[in-house]
């Protein structure tokens, strides 16, 4: 049962604000296109920005459970689906941008079979698809106790996304290290609180 305090919380407004905040990375790109300051290789810049937004939103989605645990406020959970779907939304745009702006829809077979960092990224994306498809209330009901184990696939997706990111580094990995520490922290907290087995996807506990 929701407490009286929770009932007073303006969820509708908070969700609108979250929705708009999540659109900001896209807004920055559109703004950049408008004023033409994306540089001589705008396709590359856009693809990178969309990829980073995907990864950042995955991390923010993973932050919900720790926030709940630390603050003791259950209301955080109500924002998780939107954040996760936004991560997927940016993932879709990132993949499309890569295919259109970087590859130009050519060389597909070699790219997706021979380039390790692409394979890691593609796997991270593919794992997000079933999560997005089963994010509705109806699917949650239908899957019942199977829903949670399935959605632990987000851990794999986030780790693969990080590998995909790290693998593109040429010399300076500062940014990748920072994100790696954040991701390790988010997963490590879960292992600490709920046991390592709580990180294993698809396994019913």
């Amino acid at each position: 049962m929701a407490s009286a305090a929770n009932n007073r919380f303006p969820y509708a407004w908070a969700k609108v604000v979250t929705f708009i905040l999540c659109l900001m990375p896209l807004g920055v790109i559109v703004w950049g296109l408008g004023v033409g300051d994306l540089g001589p290789d705008p396709g590359q810049a856009i693809t990178e920005a969309l990829g980073l937004a995907t990864f950042q939103l995955l991390l923010i989605t993973l932050l919900i459970t720790p926030l709940r645990k630390v603050t003791g406020w259950a209301g955080w959970i109500r924002f998780r689906r939107m954040l996760g779907l936004y991560a997927f939304f940016y993932g879709v745009l990132h993949v499309l941008a890569f295919l259109q702006f970087i590859l130009g829809w050519t060389d597909l077979w070699a790219t997706f079979t021979k380039r390790p960092y692409i394979i890691a990224g593609a796997m991270a994306f593919v794992l997000m698809v079933p999560l997005a498809l089963t994010s509705t209330k109806r699917m949650m009901k239908k899957l019942g106790r199977g829903w949670k184990p399935l959605h632990r696939l987000i851990y794999c997706s986030a780790v693969l996304a990080w590998v995909h990111f790290l693998w593109q580094a040429r010399s300076d990995i500062t940014e990748m290290v920072v994100y790696g520490v954040l991701l390790a922290g988010l997963l490590g907290l879960r292992a600490y609180w709920f046991g390592v087995s709580s990180l294993v996807p698809l396994k019913k506990v």
Binding site: P40, I46, D172
Partner: protein, 270 residues
């Protein structure tokens, strides 16, 4: 500042130039950060005047040269070269400078000099990328050429582009340009030239020898382990249709340089 120079048409391509803005705002110069826009943003503070270059090793005229003395007599040429980055993008740039062979000849290398080694400025106070904790480059940045490569007519020491002195982000005040090799061979902001007998270790070779070799000749037949080298995006690249063109062996300079590698297995010596 504007420079006086003569156009060297016989060494210049007639392809469309990459705009000045793109050439000077999209750079790999990791001394100032790994983002393409970092050098333009952070290199401005680097002091390039006065500048001196140490010449050492197997040559007669060793010593510390003021830049002007190293380049005198100052008969600058403009050469429009293609630049092919190992990351599969390319530009067309009008450089101003002198043939490397002329400078080397005046330094009188001895017969023991089999390679020329170059170093970029190492100054963490001016170069923020060198202060980074997680950089895997062992500064200073190092490059090298085999003597016959260095003496090839195409090897060039640039001090300017688009008729003006080099902006800092492009490697001011003096940089190498070897157009038949991937861009990372064209070392920037040179402070040391050493003539050596043994093949020097170069920076990218030290970091990832299976990805970047000493020769680093542009070669569509040898893929980078992480991506294809068969084609390149000529910048500026359009958004709706990426400006892909086929990569040509030796970046299209085979006529002048293929002879240097006769009998060499370029798949092994990449």
């Amino acid at each position: 500042q504007p420079l006086n120079y003569a156009k060297a048409a016989e060494y210049s391509t007639e392809e469309e130039l990459t705009p000045y803005k793109a050439v000077t705002s999209y750079n790999n110069f990791y001394e100032f950060g790994t983002g393409k826009e970092d050098p333009a943003r952070y290199a401005g503070g680097m002091s390039v005047d006065p500048w001196s270059v140490i010449v050492e090793g197997e040559c007669e005229k060793t010593g510390t040269y003021a830049l002007e003395d190293l380049l005198s007599p100052r008969q600058y040429q403009e050469r429009i070269y293609r630049l092919r980055c190992v990351e599969a993008w390319s530009m067309v740039i009008p450089w101003v400078g002198v043939p490397l062979a002329d400078v080397i000849a005046r330094l009188k290398p001895r017969s023991k000099a089999k390679y020329v080694y170059f170093e970029t400025l190492h100054d963490p106070e001016q170069m923020r990328g060198q202060r980074s904790l997680f950089s895997v480059i062992d500064w200073p940045y190092r490059e090298g050429l085999r003597m016959d490569e260095a003496m090839n007519e195409l090897a060039f020491l640039a001090i300017g582009l688009y008729g003006k002195t080099l902006p800092n982000q492009n490697g001011a005040p003096i940089r190498l340009v070897v157009p038949w090799k991937y861009g990372f061979k064209s070392i920037k902001s040179i402070v040391r030239i050493r003539f050596v007998e043994e093949r020097p270790k170069t920076s990218w070779e030290m970091i990832a020898p299976e990805e970047y070799g000493f020769f680093a000749n542009v070669n569509p037949e040898v893929d980078h382990p992480r991506w294809s080298q068969k084609r390149e995006r000529r910048l500026p690249s359009g958004l709706l249709s990426p400006n892909w063109i086929k990569t040509v062996k030796f970046n299209g300079y085979g006529e002048q340089v293929a002879g240097l590698y006769k009998g060499m297995d370029l798949a092994r010596h990449y």
